[in-house]
């Protein structure tokens, strides 16, 4: 049935002087399609397009119960859309109840929503999972007609998306004939995303992408430093750009960098323009204040991290500045899209390279944006830890048949290829723990009775529900001003907190504070308006330069005719490198070796991204140690890894042998901290251990034991356990990034260019200036511990 816009809707548009976008009408005309993916730029009326079929359907029927479910990755989006939908609904005189339901919704309102669901419910993947886990889920969702998944491209990048997709399969069973709409920003591979949303039948609608963005590299008076990532050298020019624009978003890649850059910017802010800071370690209160000030048009700029990659539309933003190389073209495009949310005005953006290598990377990124060449997101099959959680939550809502659930799960794109064996192992894990030693026959969590799986003890449902979600936070402690009531300033990671001694100063939320002490798991600080904080670290994951961007980088190095677009100092640097050594080839691998002092430096220009290079550094030094080359340490960035040691490398080829490398990985991974961190995350998601709920941290007698102990025990007694397999897969894919190493090794096969020069080369020099050197000798914890203990004993006047 082709639907047209009803007269009442048309007059609503006319009255406002609007005309519906073609994609809005197109979506309406396909309102009966089982699934549609709409790809439209921000500001293109995407959300209204998604809701239009719902509003039209609700306008001409007395639908009872829930009609449309809207799922977004952000609570703020749900709340914002509730406000925005109100206008058309009221003006059209529709009698529609619209409510949001997130972690912030009061208990009483949630109860009411279950008893009497609104027509349109706006929620998040986690809140949906919780709703689906209730015994009355079939009743709540019985009349559901439509689901709208917003920002599906962002959800698809994490396990939250996998959880949502599993939720959709459940919904499709509860409400046959359910139709799904996915809303997405521009992506590299729309068919893959459509398959993810619905593998059977998903149409793709692409809206007019609007004009190309106006994007350029910021010219600075001071050339960027050789190494580093802060962008401090450009603070003056960035401030000037902020002055000239109406409202600016300044993106920077990490929280620590955001804090430091914010400080540098304030030093240049002679007119005291209202500029704020926003990142994930600040308290919700602090972040909400900034967002509210932005909505009210009170701010001229926000310095932010990925925390504002998604979010409600701020129509007044007219400039986006990216400090540091964007690392990923797709993310850059999405960030640029945050400026000028009017459909037909180009977004304006400035890139600010933070070091010499980044000048080239920014140039490459800019060209990629112009060429509409987005990096591919390699999506593996749906993760099994998320499936385990889904099975447990399914059991909470009532008994189920294994065959039925297996078929249902396989109707999700990400789990299309799930094998019955893997499914059964997940089910066994949920039921018995899945251990080689069958210990829990009497205390199974799930039991099969008459072919129906169910909770052995229905009371466990409460705990399982408490553990919903796939976002695993690092352990954090909140930071408060001492002796003052009121909200926290923000949070710091536990590991960072453990390093603080009273008197230390650090930056948080743009202010310098002094650490006073730890009180009941809260860090107490006093304000310390000194200029130089001693420490400013929030450890965390740093995104690696994408494969596509790295390849563009290499292409540019190999095409001197394109260097003209680069600043003169960068051109000189490249010419010098070509002269003294060589430029890294597109196919093949450049290795350099040079003596410095009494040490030999060995650099591998892998262009594999920082995570892979970190792994590569650890693997190579391990192999070099075995070969007796006595490596002392290494340093890595997105482009290369450099190792120094007492003996020179004679032939790099044996060290870069793919098979040997993989063997090394297996051994090394086993005892690695990355594995333990990954294990913890998967163990929480799969329901083996419970997450620590903030504020309900176990104290005193109820001390918990670390998940590391579980990992070590499993590794010894049950290394093939499903969770260990999940952990290995995840670790190789994530932080270890072994795929990138393999890609590089393939590239290197048979064409390693090994250049030995008498002194440091132009490309290796910046590497030596990188921070984050990893010492190899003395890395043993016992040695460090012994030294520190000796020092303390001495200080205390004790002798051993």
């Amino acid at each position: 049935m082709i639907r047209a816009l009803p007269a009442s809707f048309r007059s609503f548009f006319d009255k406002r002087g609007w005309s519906p976008h073609p994609h809005q009408l197109a979506l309406l005309s396909r309102a009966d399609a089982p699934a549609t993916l709409l790809i439209a730029p921000t500001g293109g009326g995407k959300t209204l397009a998604g809701f239009l079929p719902s509003l039209v359907e609700l306008s001409d029927s007395g639908h009872q119960g829930m009609h449309t479910l809207y799922v977004s990755p952000l609570k703020a989006l749900a709340a914002d859309i509730k406000r925005n939908l109100r206008t058309p609904v009221d003006e059209l005189g529709l009698d529609i109840r619209i409510e949001d339901r997130t972690g912030d919704t009061p208990q009483s309102a949630r109860q009411k929503q279950r008893a009497d669901p609104p027509h349109i419910l706006l929620t998040t993947p986690e809140s949906l999972a919780l709703l689906l886990s209730y015994e009355d889920a079939p009743r709540i969702f019985a009349g559901l007609r439509r689901v709208i998944c917003d920002e599906i491209h962002a959800l698809a990048e994490s396990k939250r998306g996998d959880q949502l997709m599993l939720g959709l399969t459940r919904l499709a069973s509860l409400a046959p004939g359910l139709r799904t709409i996915g809303l997405s920003a521009t992506v590299d591979d729309p068919p893959a995303l459509a398959h993810y949303l619905n593998p059977n039948d998903c149409e793709i609608l692409t809206a007019d992408p609007g004009p190309d963005p106006d994007i350029s590299l910021l010219e600075t008076e001071t050339a960027p430093p050789w190494a580093g990532a802060g962008g401090k050298h450009a603070a003056g020019e960035v401030m000037q750009a902020i002055r000239e624009a109406q409202t600016t978003l300044v993106f920077i890649n990490t929280r620590a960098q955001a804090e430091l850059f914010f400080q540098a910017l304030w030093a240049e802010n002679s007119d005291d323009l209202p500029i704020a800071i926003h990142h994930g370690s600040l308290s919700r209160d602090a972040r909400e204040k900034v967002e509210a000030a932005m909505v009210a048009g009170k701010l001229r700029a926000i310095v932010c991290t990925g925390s504002l990659d998604l979010g409600i539309d701020w129509g007044n933003v007219d400039l986006v500045i990216q400090i540091g190389a964007p690392k990923n073209v797709k993310r850059l495009v999405q960030r640029i899209g945050r400026a000028n949310h009017r459909y037909n005005a180009p977004s304006r953006a400035l890139l600010v390279p933070a070091n010499r290598f980044e000048i080239i990377e920014c140039r490459a990124a800019l060209e990629a944006v112009e060429a509409h060449d987005l990096d591919a997101t390699l999506r593996g099959p749906g993760p099994l830890d998320v499936l385990c959680q889904h099975i447990l939550l399914r059991a909470c809502s009532g008994p189920f048949r294994a065959d039925g659930l297996f078929a249902e799960v396989r109707s999700a794109g990400a789990y299309r290829t799930l094998s019955r064996t893997d499914f059964d192992r997940c089910l066994d894990f949920c039921a018995t723990g899945g251990y080689a030693l069958k210990a829990y026959d009497r205390y199974q969590r799930l039991l099969e009775r008459d072919g129906l799986w169910q909770l052995r003890d229905p009371r466990t449902a409460r705990n399982l529900r408490m553990n919903i979600g796939t976002i695993i936070d690092t352990e954090t402690l909140s930071v408060r001003i001492k002796g003052r009531m009121g909200g926290a300033l923000g949070e710091v990671e536990e590991a960072f907190a453990a390093n603080l001694v009273p008197g230390d100063t650090f930056l948080i939320g743009g202010q310098t504070v002094r650490y006073e002490g730890l009180r009941e798991m809260v860090i107490e600080v006093t304000k310390q308006p000194s200029r130089k904080p001693k420490i400013a670290v929030f450890a965390g994951y740093r995104m690696a330069t994408s494969l596509e961007l790295s390849q563009r980088f290499l292409d540019m190095l190999q095409s001197p005719e394109r260097w003209k677009t680069l600043p003169q100092h960068t051109q000189d640097w490249l010419h010098l490198q070509a002269e003294m050594s060589a430029l890294p080839p597109r196919n093949g691998l450049l290795c350099e070796q040079f003596p410095r002092g009494d040490q030999h430096h060995f650099s591998v220009f892998s262009f594999a991204g920082r995570n892979a290079n970190q792994t590569l550094g650890l693997l190579l030094t391990r192999r070099m140690e075995e070969a007796g080359l006595e490596p002392l340490g290494f340093v890595s960035n997105d482009y290369a890894v450099s190792i120094w040691g007492l003996k020179p490398v004679v032939d790099p080829a044996p060290f870069l042998d793919p098979d040997e490398m993989r063997n090394g990985l297996e051994t090394w991974l086993g005892e690695n901290a990355v594995m333990k961190r990954t294990f913890r995350a998967s163990a929480i998601i799969a329901g083996l251990i419970e997450r620590n709920h903030p504020g309900k941290r176990k104290t005193g007698r109820q001390a918990t034991f670390s998940s590391d102990i579980l990992y070590d025990t499993m590794r010894k007694y049950d290394p093939d356990h499903i969770l260990m397999q999940i952990t290995r897969t995840e670790a190789e894919r994530g932080l270890v990034d072994f795929d990138r190493i393999e890609e590089m090794l393939d590239r290197a096969q048979g064409s390693i260019r090994f250049i030995q020069v008498p002194h440091v080369t132009p490309f290796s020099a910046p590497l030596l200036l990188e921070v984050g050197r990893v010492p190899i000798k003395g890395v043993a914890e016992e040695t460090l511990l012994r030294d520190e203990a000796d020092r303390l004993m001495k200080e205390a006047g004790l002798t051993l």
């Binding site: 723990g433 205390y443 007694y717 511990l785």
Partner: protein
């Protein structure tokens, strides 16, 4: 594995890196808080199904210490089993392992708060026991004591070693009082800074961190 030798109430003792306490002269080995059967108990109570290998692992570690030191007497300082039912839930392999360890030596079970009742696996049972100048009991008695050895608190100490945070179960050696770390595998810890523990062990106490080597650190 190297231990830390110290003198406590005129007795020469060694804090083993494993978390066991060795009294060479008396050929006496003390371990505390084995919490055997912990994962089983958690499962029974509807909690998580943790890897069910901790009993095996704890016994393996204990039998390693016994093989190395060949003690005449072993004292298990309470909370040896996670609860009474955990004793009956020990499987045959674990039973055999325990029996092999107990054979030919005096074995003393001190009552803990988790396993206060009698234990049906041989050995003798005491709420506390004295050996020379030393008293062995599960929970430290508040106030002034002289030569008390206890467990119960699972003390743990966190140290900063050149930017790396190291957290280990530890012995706490104070004035006339010694608190043992938990020897069991699945045992959490209380940070030794906690006020109560500091009050118990007094101002000049020492933590001995366990691990590959026993590392003394002043508190």
């Amino acid at each position: 594995m190297s231990g830390y030798d110290f003198s406590f109430c005129s007795v020469d003792l060694r804090a083993e890196a494993s978390g066991a306490l060795w009294w060479e002269e008396a050929q006496l080995l003390t371990v505390s808080d084995l919490h055997l059967g912990k994962s089983e108990r958690m499962a029974r109570r509807g909690g998580a199904l943790l890897p069910p290998y901790e009993t095996r692992e704890t016994l393996t570690r204990l039998s390693g210490e016994i093989a190395r030191l060949d003690p005449r007497t072993v004292i298990c300082l309470g909370d040896s089993f996670d609860d009474l039912s955990a004793q009956s839930a020990l499987d045959d392999v674990d039973h055999a392992e325990l029996a092999a360890m107990m054979a030919g030596r005096r074995w003393i079970w001190i009552e803990g708060n988790h396993d206060a009742g009698p234990i049906e696996i041989g050995g003798s049972h005491h709420d506390e026991i004295e050996r020379g100048p030393l008293t062995f009991r599960h929970i430290a008695r508040p106030g002034r004591v002289e030569g008390e050895i206890s467990g119960h608190y699972h003390p743990k100490h966190v140290l900063n070693a050149r930017g790396r945070t190291v957290s280990r179960p530890c012995f706490l050696i104070g004035d006339g009082r010694l608190i043992l770390p938990a020897f069991g595998v699945y045992t959490g810890g209380l940070r030794s800074e906690l006020k109560m523990l500091r009050q118990l062990t007094g101002p000049n106490s020492l933590a001995v961190l366990t691990g590959k080597t026993a590392t003394p650190v002043p508190l």
